[in-house]
Symmetry: C2
DNA sequence: CTCCTTCCGGAGAAAATTCCTCCGCTTCGT
DNA sequence: ACGAAGCGGAGGAATTTTCTCCGGAAGGAG
């Protein structure tokens, strides 16, 4: 009894996930599912067939995003011996994947996510930050939380609707400005305000909706 | 015939404008007007009384935002002889005013805005950028467009709903990172991608909706 | 303090949007 | 070429959003 899934079905599922990632980032966790289907180039019924309701779709999007981000950190660490270079590679890669902003957007629409899911990527990134700081390459007053939220800021599309190509090019451009600001050599003032880890950020965000 | 406007009416108008600024930034140009009224602490009828329709409200919000931003540049120039310090002051002030992100959000929902409105602020900021670059303080490969869009990235609330205080503190913190990355001393690579002025940005954004 | 004018708030009908299922047709894989 | 799996879109139900109407509250002049 070959339990086979058809190729077009797999491809559609993939395109729906990608479209959902974009639309959720642009329009928030309550974005209309019709628009996701439209952007994926499928009918709305296909979306409902693959994901019985919004929360199932959200869950799948978050899971895919976290896995992709984790893989990107792992790849960056493997490819670059210099920890700051690894950080830099990760940031640009995360922008290309378009994977960062959707995670905080959907995390609290997705109850009881497995904490093990985010653990590995968080730990890897944290290690990268620490070793870049030990090597004197990354300014000592930033945290993993800053890194993550800066990438979120960089990867959200700007309001006003730029064409995708310009949007992406600007993001990489601005990432390089931010990365230059993150080097130890760039420090001119000690950063104000709360130095929050990922966990502290999640704890804070419990308060407001 | 004292043509007087009552004080509570003026106060309500102001609170609606402030709420609209926030809500438009968070939920986009089609945000429900009910939510704006609710956040302003007024009834929905009061909103409609002051602003006959969505586009009148949007127009008023944009106008107020542009005027406030222009005043902020002017004040920064007046207060700081050092052009980079003026830039820095402007960035932080713009974050406090919460005024940057709403402009691109609403600009194309507001047809036929007076170009003279944005002209002064744009010219002032452009002059500031140029003189900071001439003085060798600001990296030469950034444009006013970069400045503006970076401030937009910094002033949008992060997805996931942090409490307002944390949100603001993080924004100022990240602004300092970005500002350090904008100094001439920070340059490690030439910035990739398009170096767009404000006008070029507006021209680009005509394409996609 | 009182009266008149201006303004406010919320109810609720109408309009618009969004959800989500059903079923005839298409495409895949063998 | 046949059977099974998957697809798309129509369309009614449910939800959200718009926007007006009017009884009552609140500001301000005298």
């Amino acid at each position: 009894m070959g339990r086979v899934t058809r190729r077009d079905a797999i491809a559609n599922r993939e395109r729906i996930l990608a479209a959902a990632r974009e639309v959720f980032v642009e329009r928030g966790p309550n974005a209309p599912l019709d628009e996701i289907a439209r952007r994926a180039g499928t009918g709305i019924a296909t979306l409902y067939r693959h994901f019985p309701d919004r929360s199932a779709l959200a869950r799948a999007v978050v899971e895919a995003a976290v896995l992709a981000a984790t893989a990107a950190v792992r790849a960056a660490v493997a490819a670059e011996p210099d920890p700051f270079a690894a950080l830099r590679r990760y940031v640009h890669e995360a922008l290309d994947l378009g994977v960062a902003a959707v995670i905080p957007t959907l995390l609290d629409s997705v109850p009881q996510t497995d904490p093990a899911l985010t653990a590995e990527g968080g730990a890897l990134l944290d290690g990268l930050v620490r070793s870049a700081q030990s090597a004197g390459l990354l300014r000592p007053d930033v945290t993993v939380g800053d890194l993550g939220t800066l990438v979120v800021r960089l990867s959200r599309p700007l309001p006003g609707g730029l064409p995708a190509g310009v949007e992406a090019a600007l993001a990489h451009r601005h990432a390089d400005v931010v990365l230059d600001g993150l080097r130890s050599a760039a420090v001119t003032t000690v950063l104000p305000g709360p130095a929050l880890s990922f966990d502290a950020l999640r704890a804070e965000s419990a308060g407001t909706g």
